[in-house]
Symmetry: C2
Subunit: 297 residues, 2 copies
């Protein structure tokens, strides 16, 4: 997967960080997680094309997470988008889109499918799935998990050689799941190793530390957790439904996440390195997101 | 007046130009003309504070001219705005604001007064007025004129000396409009020259060349006219309710405007100098707006 951070601030933009938006290339699809105001322009300043976005997932209906939608949709239309676009979110996403369409004079020229989902849903797409879990914020907020499908293991070259499998046999096996060799049916799974586990990613949106997020993020490759503030402002942040970077790190450790990326940094920080410094002693493999950071895993 | 161009593109943003927004400092008030998506962040990158905006004037309800409103209002609230804010526009501005307030979870914490106005209205404020005229676009669009009040002329020093007016007499005259000297009542206007005409500015919003705009902009100091395209694309632009830069220049000449500033440059132009080059032979005193251009007059 390739993650491009388009907005890594929280609540409102600063000169250095725009409000939340994360583009994720998974298999053939470009997904967008949240779409704060100005996301279309952040796309223009990145290496990712907003025209290629296939599905959008909104974590919750606070302005900094969705106010970029109307402009992005209108600009897609200005650029002659034809492909339909799916927009997922908590209950109310259809109403939100209706509200957006009723602002001013504009009707979409391509199909926009708004679908609310529930935490138990797992949406199956081509080679990956997206599932949601309720985070703990002041209003309903979904954490999203993107998971690539597991793939078959590599060919066991020794075993294949011993059975006389070679050349075009491999693509035949791949296509058909078996091959007849010397009158004997050999199954693909007999000559391949353990399946390769698909990569996985969780993005929390806005949340206080949550046991549900720990469970939901179990063994995930990358956990993108909100980290609004430093330790000294933790209590106040928790009151408003947010986490400190240390709390995000504790969640990552408890979830056994392989890597943590901190985002949704409060506009109060011109220098956000203290957020990283406080998380690192707890969770070694931690990155602090910056606008336009690209993370491939 | 001091004009700060915050967004000088049209339809949708590019890496170099954001969508329309113009801040105007007139007397004690900071006004905002249009508020495209991302205007709050453009403010942050300028020398003008978004917290000081007192009144907003929206030309029309196409997304590129108003989609920055919800984010700007929310960020004002995040920054503890207390002062009320007036938002003016064509008929429907109240409904637009209602629509904005119904998006997601947010209610303004300060007073927002949305008022639709009609072309015959002239709004009188402290030391200046704002009036509107219907431009010619695909939907109702108002051009706005900001006009400082005329001020009294300078003291005629010779006459004052002859009448024995000196020292504190001047401030007395100023406050009371007259003074008694040697038993004789002398009026302020008797000892001051011709009144000084207040500066004036017209901003068109989106429009094709319009006779109403010529009349409305008569003798204006600065005409900010939309100039979406170069001459070669004029016909197409006119069809969509827009002007070429040459047409904007012709309007400025016919209106006897002292200066023309071109804005609302189509995103198709990476290099927009041809727009200026085509206008200059028609209207010598022409500028091409760029984001963050500050123009004082």
């Amino acid at each position: 997967m390739e993650i491009t951070f388009l907005g890594t601030g929280g609540s409102y933009p600063t000169r250095f960080r725009n409000v939340p938006a994360i583009a994720v290339q998974v298999k053939e699809d470009l997904l967008l997680l949240d779409c704060g105001e100005g996301t279309q322009r952040q796309f223009m300043q990145s290496n990712v094309s907003f025209m290629k976005v296939k599905k959008i997932f909104i974590t919750h209906f606070h302005g900094d997470h969705f106010l970029g939608l109307p402009g992005l949709l209108q600009t897609m239309a200005f650029n002659n988008r034809i492909d339909s676009l799916e927009i997922y979110g908590p209950e109310g996403i259809e109403k939100l889109l209706d509200g957006i369409f009723s602002l001013g004079f504009w009707k979409p020229s391509f199909k926009i499918i708004a679908k609310s989902i529930v935490p138990s849903d797992t949406l199956q797409f081509e080679g990956y799935s997206v599932s949601a879990e309720l985070a703990e914020h002041t209003i309903p907020d979904y954490a999203y998990k993107i998971k690539e499908e597991d793939r078959r293991g590599h060919f066991d070259t020794e075993k294949c050689k011993a059975l006389g499998i070679k050349g075009k046999d491999f693509s035949y096996l791949e296509s058909n799941g078996f091959i007849i060799k010397n009158g004997k049916k050999i199954l693909l799974k007999e000559v391949t190793g353990n399946s390769i586990v698909g990569k996985s990613l969780v993005y929390t949106g806005d949340t206080v530390p949550s046991d549900r997020i720990i469970k939901f993020s179990n063994n995930v490759d990358v956990l993108i957790h909100e980290a609004s503030v430093t330790k000294d402002l933790e209590n106040k942040a928790n009151e408003y439904g947010h986490s400190s970077s240390s709390q995000a790190a504790e969640i990552a450790v408890k979830a056994n996440a392989k890597q943590l990326i901190l985002t949704h940094i409060s506009p109060r920080y011109e220098d956000s390195t203290p957020l990283l410094e406080e998380a690192l002693p707890i969770m070694k493999n931690t990155k602090l997101a910056e606008d336009f950071l690209v993370h491939v895993f």
